[in-house]
């Protein structure tokens, strides 16, 4: 029998127990949450285990939830098992005052630039990253644009007025 979501969930709860929460399967994609300091351990287990074999990091991004006080920024990892064609999503929540997450660059080199982008737009500080500087925005930018408190429109523009342009 091939690897399914139930088998993955069973193996993970066996190893990590109650620390993994918020299990759901949106559109068939198994999603769970782990505590912030365990992200590397969980990914290591998913990589090394011969049944799991989640050896491909598809995406690494962040979401800002201003309503979840105390854990506003969520870093989302999408993993893919290339052999059995199973995808997995796991989320890690950090507070916005101190958004520290361990970097996964040693395990997945693709995470290097993806973490830089996450830092650039959300301000997540990846501990242990070799070169955590802005990648897509201008280097002198002093705020993190994708956080919900900042609007999308260019702040330096003076001639467009809000009623006419529907901002």
């Amino acid at each position: 029998m091939g690897l399914t979501n139930e088998i993955i969930q069973l193996a993970l709860t066996e190893k990590f127990g109650e620390q993994l929460t918020e299990w759901e399967a949106q559109y068939g994609l198994l999603t769970f949450t782990a505590p912030a300091d365990m992200n590397l351990k969980v990914m290591q287990f998913l990589y090394d285990d011969e049944q799991m074999r989640f050896r491909f990091l598809t995406d690494l991004t962040a979401v800002h939830y201003p309503e979840r006080k105390g854990e506003e920024i969520s870093v989302v990892y999408h993993l893919h098992n290339l052999v059995d064609n199973i995808r997995l999503r796991f989320k890690v929540y950090v507070p916005v005052e101190k958004p520290d997450v361990f970097t996964v660059t040693q395990r997945f080199s693709a995470a290097n630039w993806m973490e830089r982008e996450t830092y650039d737009f959300f301000g997540v500080n990846f501990i242990g990253h070799p070169n955590l500087i802005r990648i897509l925005n201008v280097d002198e930018m002093d705020y993190f644009p994708m956080r919900k408190e900042y609007e999308m429109e260019d702040p330096t523009r003076r001639d467009k007025d809000n009623e006419m342009f529907g901002r």
């Binding site: 429109e153 260019d154 330096t156 523009r157 467009k160």
Partner: protein, 187 residues
């Protein structure tokens, strides 16, 4: 039976400026001759970033031929070109690079901003997009459109040719021009 030869009799010529001519010589004002020469041989430097670049490529193709206006040689180096054609969205990170390219061009140089994004940021009214290239370099002609039709781009080039024809050769040394360059921080 080979195709009969067809001679193109409808070649459009540029009129000579008025002047005094005699046997073996023709004299006019310097400005007129220089203006004429410059306007009909503008070598463009395409700085195509996005969709307007594709429209520009279509303009250069044989259907809407830009070569017939003298812009046959697209030098992709700023050192050898007269006109900088900025086509496409310029991000704030690209601004200093665009400025660097402009600074490498030799005088006389002109700039055409093709499309809405180059003129004013276009529909991308957001934090990473430069809201118009005139924040970093002085622009001579703006071509509106998203993207402008090739006929529109040709219209922009023709307007530039008008500008070039009537430009005085001392313009680059005038105080107004110097002030303009100062406001952009360009020496």
């Amino acid at each position: 039976m080979p195709r009969p030869v067809q001679y193109n009799t409808k070649v459009k010529m540029v009129e000579i400026p008025e002047g005094y001519s005699g046997e073996g010589f023709f004299s006019t004002a310097f400005d007129k001759i220089i203006g004429l020469g410059r306007e009909n041989s503008l070598w463009p430097l395409p700085f195509a970033t996005s969709c307007c670049g594709i429209e520009f490529m279509a303009t250069m193709g044989s259907h809407y031929d830009l070569g017939r206006f003298g812009a046959e040689r697209m030098g992709f180096t700023p050192r050898q070109c007269d006109v900088l054609l900025v086509a496409g969205t310029i991000a704030k990170k690209m601004g200093p690079i665009l400025r660097q390219v402009y600074l490498q061009m030799a005088e006389p140089r002109w700039v055409i901003a093709i499309g809405a994004c180059a003129s004013s940021g276009g529909i991308f009214d957001s934090y990473p997009v430069l809201q118009g290239i005139d924040q970093v370099i002085p622009v001579d002609v703006y071509v509106p459109g998203c993207p402008p039709r090739p006929e529109g781009i040709i219209d922009g080039i023709l307007k530039l040719q008008d500008l070039v024809h009537h430009e005085s050769t001392r313009r680059r040394h005038s105080p107004v021009y110097k002030e303009l360059m100062e406001s952009y921080g360009i020496q």
